[in-house]
Structure formats: structure tokens, C-alpha cells
């Protein structure tokens, strides 16, 4: 499959600079509205100002209306089309298919971050906070906690030093407090 991101591989120093150096989120709050091509998802974004890089960078938040799974991504279109750094709150575990990682350590469950290695290959990981089960659970359930974690991990904050908040612009759609599907509503035979 098209696993290797050639653009990130060829400009790995630039990629590292993008992820690691300080960034400012220009919008104090990120407003979620329904996605144009997929009504089951909400999306919102903010422009990011980087300390040393002048190219356009976007912070994008997406959330499912069905099971409250959410994702946070950073995109730099001039580097590559795919998001160059991501956070997934829920969903399948990622396989870190690298020869130096023992098989039973190759599975990284959600919530996790998705980044890239020097060879352009995607890698998923949990930082120290996500490795603690109670913290991970809290982050899965609270998108604002997730945004704060994402910002800390990527040296991103508001000009004031705080973290942005995520707001649902169409509050008549109730967010389910749990992250689970109600199986009782489906007539399995």
C-alpha cells in the first residue's frame, strides 16, 4: 500500500521542525459544524502560526456524531497532502510494522498519536499520559482534554498561554456521553 510518505521522508528535518517547535493557535475556540460530504461527522479548524516556519499550517478537529470518536490533525499542504501529525481518540489499533519492534509490542491501541519515522513510515505511539489507563479513558471521553493533550504534545497553545476549546455549533444534536453504540437498537438475528 502507499505506506511511505515520500515527501516527509525527503524533508524529515522540516517535518521535525513542524512538529516540535512552538506554535500558536489563532482561534480561541474551534467550532464544529457538520461536514459537507459526510453528515455523520462534525469538523472545525484553526490556522496555526509557527515560530520559524511561514508556510500555512492548519489544526483540524473532527468528531463522529454516532460514537463520539474524535480526531485532531495538523496539516501543512505545502509539505504533503496527508496530515503530518494526528491524534485518534478511538478506532482500530495501529500496527507499528518495524523489524526492531517485537511483535507483541507492535500493536498500539487507541487513544494514540500518529507520526512518521525518518523513512517516511507512519508510526503510532502513546505518550506517558496516554499510557495510564485512567487518563486515557478520560481523554477518550472529553474532547477538550484531548485538545489540551494534543497541544502539549506538539508545543501548541493560544497566544495567552492557554489551550483552545472545542465547541459544538449545532447543540441540538446531543453528543452521546459514552463512546459506545447502543446495540439494543439493532435487530441482530
Amino acid at each position: 500500500m502507499h505506506k511511505i510518505n515520500k515527501e516527509i521522508k525527503d524533508q524529515f528535518d522540516f517535518f521535525t521542525e513542524l512538529v516540535k517547535l512552538e506554535k500558536i493557535v489563532l482561534s480561541k475556540s474551534i467550532q464544529l459544524v457538520p461536514k459537507k460530504n459526510n453528515a455523520r461527522w462534525l469538523t472545525g479548524q484553526s490556522v496555526i502560526q509557527h515560530k520559524t516556519i511561514s508556510e500555512d499550517i492548519l489544526l483540524i478537529v473532527e468528531r463522529s456524531k454516532r460514537d463520539s470518536k474524535y480526531g485532531i490533525k495538523l496539516r501543512c499542504p505545502s509539505l504533503t497532502n496527508e496530515p503530518f501529525f494526528r491524534f485518534d481518540s478511538d478506532g482500530p489499533a495501529h500496527r507499528n510494522d518495524f523489524p526492531n519492534i517485537p511483535l507483541d509490542e507492535q500493536s498500539v491501541t487507541t487513544p494514540h498519536f500518529n507520526s512518521y519515522e525518518e523513512d517516511g513510515k507512519p508510526i503510532a505511539y502513546k505518550n506517558d499520559i496516554l499510557k495510564k489507563e485512567s487518563e486515557a479513558k478520560a481523554i477518550e471521553e472529553d474532547i477538550n482534554f484531548g485538545i489540551s493533550l494534543f497541544c502539549m504534545e506538539t508545543s501548541t497553545k493560544l497566544a495567552t498561554g492557554d489551550f483552545p476549546s472545542v465547541i459544538d455549533k449545532a447543540p441540538e444534536i446531543e453528543f452521546c456521553a459514552t463512546q459506545n453504540i447502543n446495540f439494543d437498537n439493532i435487530s441482530f438475528e
Binding site: R95, Q106, T178, N180
Partner: protein, 270 residues
């Protein structure tokens, strides 16, 4: 090399690769099976409406396994899903919002591990099927380009005397790339191209059969020429290798095929 050591390592790794997430109303089994999109497959076990149900929780339908989506492959993918469903005895149902859930049911907990195995194998198969591009883009492009170029050339030179993608009245389903009607004579033309030898020979075969059928038409006496325009610049053009089929074609046509690189000869002929 200590065999037992190797065996123990493999057993332990495979076993440890299976993880579990206990959710509010289900157990998520994060299985040891992964897709070619580098995701491990999850099977959800829940107890609902008095049944033990194992399901993908709609993750395939919502593309949580992050596969590409090739619209033109919809039919073939649906056939693959049906095949896998039959092999692993998996059923599906839509929820209220139209999301498809693939599932199996169990009568008791003893059946659960085997059902997890089946459903996980099903999910891997189906997700991987989505990833393959079934359409040969190179071939499609090559074919389209040649057809357009040939059509444009004939239109430019024969204007309303040429009908593209046309058929004889008595064999409506046999289409010729072009039929030229000039001075009460008909000229039947087929195009042959291909990005490899197989595709090229398929086109030759089609021409052979179509010209053979035309020879049975009531219009056969006014058909002055039956000729093939071959794209001699295509990768599939291998005259020595395809010599046998070229010979067969020659038996059905009124003359040797016309090469696209010598297209002016068409104008000399017609």
C-alpha cells in the same frame, strides 16, 4: 538453535498481541490480525436481546480501517463481501442510520473464541479487498487516448460519411469502431491497441469475430473494405509474438492492417 525457545517466543508473542478493551456495553477484542492498512482488527462482543452477538460495530462500513475507496470497483467488492460472508458464516444488518453492521451470533460462551476467529478473518479479508485497485488505469487511459485520436482523424477526413461506434442493421449488437459510407459502399473499421500483449491480442480477437459476423450480413456485397487500424506505437504491439492471431485476422479482413503511424494510408484506401 533451540527449537523450544523459538516455539515459546512465537506462542507468547501471538498470545500477547491480543488485547482487550472493556467498554460500557461490550468487550472489544483487539485481535492479532492486521489489515494491509496497518490496523489491527477489532471484534466487539456484546449481549443484547438475549443473544451473544459478535460484531465489527460498523467499523468496516464507516471505513475506520482507512482503506481507499474505488467507486468503480463497487460491484466486484460486493461480490467479495458475499464470498467472505458465506465462507465465515457472517451476517449483516443496517442500523437506524443506515450503517451496516457485520455480525455473528453464539449460543453459548464456549462458541465465542471460534466466532471471534471467524469474524476477524472476515474483517481482514474484506478490508484488504477494498485496498486493491482492480481497474487497470494505464490500460484504460491508453485505450481512451487511441480511440479518441482515431475517431478525431476519421471525423476530420470523412465528416458526415463516417459513423463512429456503429453497427450493421442486421447485427445491431456488433459494434465497429467506425463505418464509412462512401459512394454506396461500406467500409468497416476496427481499432486495435493495448498496453500489453494480452490486451492487444484481445482486441485482435474481437476484430476477427466481428468481421466474421459481418461476412454473414445481408450487406456483405456492398462492404468494400474490412480493415483494422492498429496502434503500432502501443506497448502491446508485438507482431512476431502475435503472428498467429495476425494471420487469422488477415483471413477475415480485406487487406493487411493499417498502422496508425502510417495513417495517411487510410485516406489513400478510402
Amino acid at each position: 538453535m533451540n527449537n523450544q525457545d523459538i516455539i515459546d517466543r512465537i506462542k507468547a508473542s501471538f498470545c500477547n498481541l491480543t488485547n482487550f478493551k472493556v467498554r460500557q456495553n461490550a468487550i472489544e477484542v483487539i485481535t492479532a490480525y492486521s489489515t494491509i492498512t496497518s490496523k489491527f482488527v477489532s471484534v466487539f462482543i456484546t449481549f443484547t436481546n438475549n443473544k451473544i452477538v459478535l460484531t465489527d460495530s460498523g467499523w468496516i462500513d464507516q471505513n475506520y480501517y482507512e482503506t481507499p475507496l474505488y467507486d468503480e470497483s463497487e460491484f466486484i467488492i460486493n461480490r467479495m463481501i458475499s464470498s467472505y460472508k458465506a465462507s465465515f458464516n457472517v451476517k449483516s444488518i443496517l442500523d437506524k442510520e443506515g450503517v451496516e453492521f457485520y455480525y455473528k451470533t453464539c449460543e453459548n460462551i464456549d462458541q465465542i473464541p471460534s466466532a471471534v476467529f471467524d469474524l476477524a478473518s472476515f474483517i481482514v479479508g474484506v478490508v484488504n479487498s477494498f485496498c486493491i485497485q482492480y481497474k487497470d488505469e494505464k490500460e484504460e487511459k491508453e485505450r481512451e487516448t487511441f480511440r479518441k485520436d482515431a475517431n478525431d482523424y476519421l471525423k476530420a477526413n470523412y465528416t458526415d460519411k463516417v459513423k463512429l461506434r456503429s453497427a450493421l442493421d442486421d447485427f445491431q449488437s456488433i459494434k465497429f469502431n467506425a463505418i464509412i459510407n462512401k459512394n454506396s459502399n461500406l467500409y468497416l473499421l476496427t481499432y486495435v491497441t493495448g498496453s500489453n500483449q494480452i490486451y492487444f491480442e484481445n482486441d485482435l480477437r474481437k476484430s476477427i469475430v466481428n468481421f466474421e459476423i459481418a461476412s454473414k450480413s445481408k450487406y456483405r456485397d456492398i462492404i468494400k473494405e474490412k480493415v483494422t487500424i492498429i496502434n503500432d506505437k502501443s506497448d502491446g504491439y508485438m507482431p512476431e509474438r502475435s503472428s498467429f492471431i495476425f494471420e487469422l485476422l488477415r483471413e477475415k479482413t480485406s487487406r493487411e492492417p493499417l498502422k496508425w503511424s502510417e495513417k495517411e494510408r487510410i485516406l489513400e484506401l478510402i
